[in-house]
């Protein structure tokens, strides 16, 4: 059974009175249990749109998306999903402990478990000593790390990360990569989008290339050996798709 499944998904946005933009067109993809799947595509390719549909933040125009066999519209399924948005923004006046406590309560965790997970996660992302500071005094990288902790507090089976390396320094990037690999070793399914091809190649089992709202190619690194570099392969796919359509 596919853990995440997109079935002929189409999403059209209204951009003006009579203008529409198709962000995703007939997009189908299955992501298997326990794999790390990298979602690759130029800016505006539709990666975030697909991810937002999975989290029920936006609704598909046609087709459907499922997580663990349930429609993404069912709120209970989000108990099994951890999500890090692109450029996350959290409540300014709260500290990470208060945010994690909210996230744990919303997922029906008991107080003791929330406290334990909060300590271990904040230690993992290197924020335990900063835990009493309000988020508004945090740097971009620190906010990103709070976001990662929030995505993992309820020990989800599926982890969806939208550009998790954005705004991180090399050490922060390494921490995220180590964390993704640790989650993979725990049997979790990870679906993430990124621009950083080097990282994608290092940690992914499979990647999907999305250009102009259409899935151009899926590469399974276990079965397929790339002749060219990933960057060249990616550029080739973008060019084959007729370049970027604005």
């Amino acid at each position: 059974m596919a853990v995440i499944s997109f079935d002929k998904l189409t999403k059209t946005y209204k951009t003006g009175f009579r203008k529409k933009k198709t962000a995703l067109k007939d997009f189908s993809l299955d992501i298997r249990e326990g794999e790390v799947f990298g979602f690759l595509g130029p800016n505006g390719a539709g990666k975030s749109t697909a991810i937002k549909i999975l989290l029920n933040l936006i609704f598909p125009t046609a087709g459907k998306a499922e997580i663990l066999g349930s429609d993404v519209g069912e709120k209970e399924i989000r108990r099994s999903v951890g999500y890090l948005p692109e450029n996350p923004y959290f409540y300014d006046y709260l500290n990470p402990v208060e945010l994690l406590s909210f996230a744990g309560r919303a997922s029906n965790m008991d107080s003791l478990k929330i406290r334990e997970k909060t300590e271990s996660l904040l230690n993992t992302v290197g924020l335990w000593n900063e835990r009493k500071r309000a988020i508004r005094s945090y740097s971009k990288g620190m906010v990103q790390r709070v976001g990662l902790a929030l995505a993992l507090i309820h020990d989800p089976k599926v982890v969806i990360l939208d550009e998790p390396m954005t705004g991180l320094d090399p050490i922060g990037r390494k921490q995220v990569i180590d964390l993704i690999l640790k989650l993979k070793s725990e049997g979790k399914t990870i679906f993430f989008s990124s621009h950083i091809l080097e990282d994608i190649e290092r940690i992914c089992d499979r990647i999907g290339m999305l250009v102009n709202g259409q899935l151009r190619r899926v590469i399974d690194f276990k079965k397929e050996k790339l002749i060219k570099s990933l960057e060249d392969t990616f550029i080739e796919e973008v060019e084959k798709a007729g370049g970027l359509q604005q």
Partner: protein
């Protein structure tokens, strides 16, 4: 319920830690101090003036809290997409909206309780320093008036929630809420003026019809104003208290039901 409560709690925490609230408290404290000074300028009815000004201060501070913090608590979620963090959890859009409303109401409650208790000081001072045997004053009526300030603020919170459910940015929600408050404050007086025909002015039927619609669509904010009764120590009819409270519950239910319906299909691209 867990989902609603967790949203309410985080909303309340974010609101109460906002620095703007300290500014509002300082303004309220200055107004309380001014009340004590201003009352000395009056020859008579000093307690009435003190009660009127104290209750007005509590109401004004509550309204500032809702407009500058309450609206922003929604605004930031929608403008800066903090909402992603909330509704990507097992929380439905309806639960989010109701939780947010409860959080804002809790914020209004804490402001009213804190300032309501503090407002006793200028009233007691005016009673102590300028004692008049003919002055009628009843603390019960005073506290009922304070409770009705809170009920009014809860109704205003439901209007803010309603506007936030379909507007695209917080400034529009702020303007609409303020307009609804101002209209709601005056519809009853305007309607009474038209109905009583005291001034014998010819009014077009369309205008009368519009006033009638505004009277029923906008909340009757003036109904919650019991300052006059508290200042003059006038007894309040129990049926008025019950019906006004029921009206508030009814209005809030309708506003939240419409808000929830609008919010259910809202997307956050």
């Amino acid at each position: 319920m867990n989902a609603v409560w967790s949203v309410a709690l985080i909303t309340f925490k974010e609101g109460i830690k906002n620095r703007v609230i300290f500014g509002i408290f300082i303004i309220a404290l200055l107004l309380f101090a001014a009340t004590t000074t201003v009352t000395t300028l009056f020859m008579r009815d000093i307690v009435k003036v003190a009660v009127d000004l104290s209750l007005s201060t509590v109401s004004f501070a509550g309204l500032l809290t809702l407009l500058f913090i309450g609206v922003n608590l929604f605004g930031k979620d929608l403008d800066k997409r903090t909402i992603y963090m909330v509704i990507s959890r097992p929380i439905s859009r309806s639960e989010y909206l109701i939780g947010k409303f409860i959080g804002i109401v809790l914020l209004a409650l804490s402001v009213v309780v804190f300032l309501g208790l503090l407002s006793i000081v200028p009233v007691i001072m005016s009673k102590r320093f300028y004692y008049y045997t003919e002055a009628k004053f009843d603390w019960w009526i005073y506290f009922i008036a304070v409770i009705y300030i809170f009920i009014k603020l809860a109704v205003v919170s439901s209007i803010i929630t309603l506007f936030a459910s379909f507007t695209s940015n917080s400034f529009i929600a702020l303007v609409l809420s303020l307009v609804a408050y101002i209209i709601g404050q005056s519809t009853e007086s305007v309607r009474e003026l038209l109905v009583s025909q005291v001034e014998k002015i010819e009014v077009s039927p369309i205008l009368s019809y519009m006033v009638e619609i505004a009277y029923y669509v906008f909340p009757n904010i003036s109904a919650f104003d019991l300052k006059t009764q508290a200042a003059h120590g006038l007894s309040i009819n129990p049926s008025y208290i019950i019906w006004t409270a029921l009206y508030a519950v009814f209005y809030m239910t309708i506003a939240l039901a419409i808000g929830t319906l609008a919010f259910r299909r809202r997307e956050f691209p």
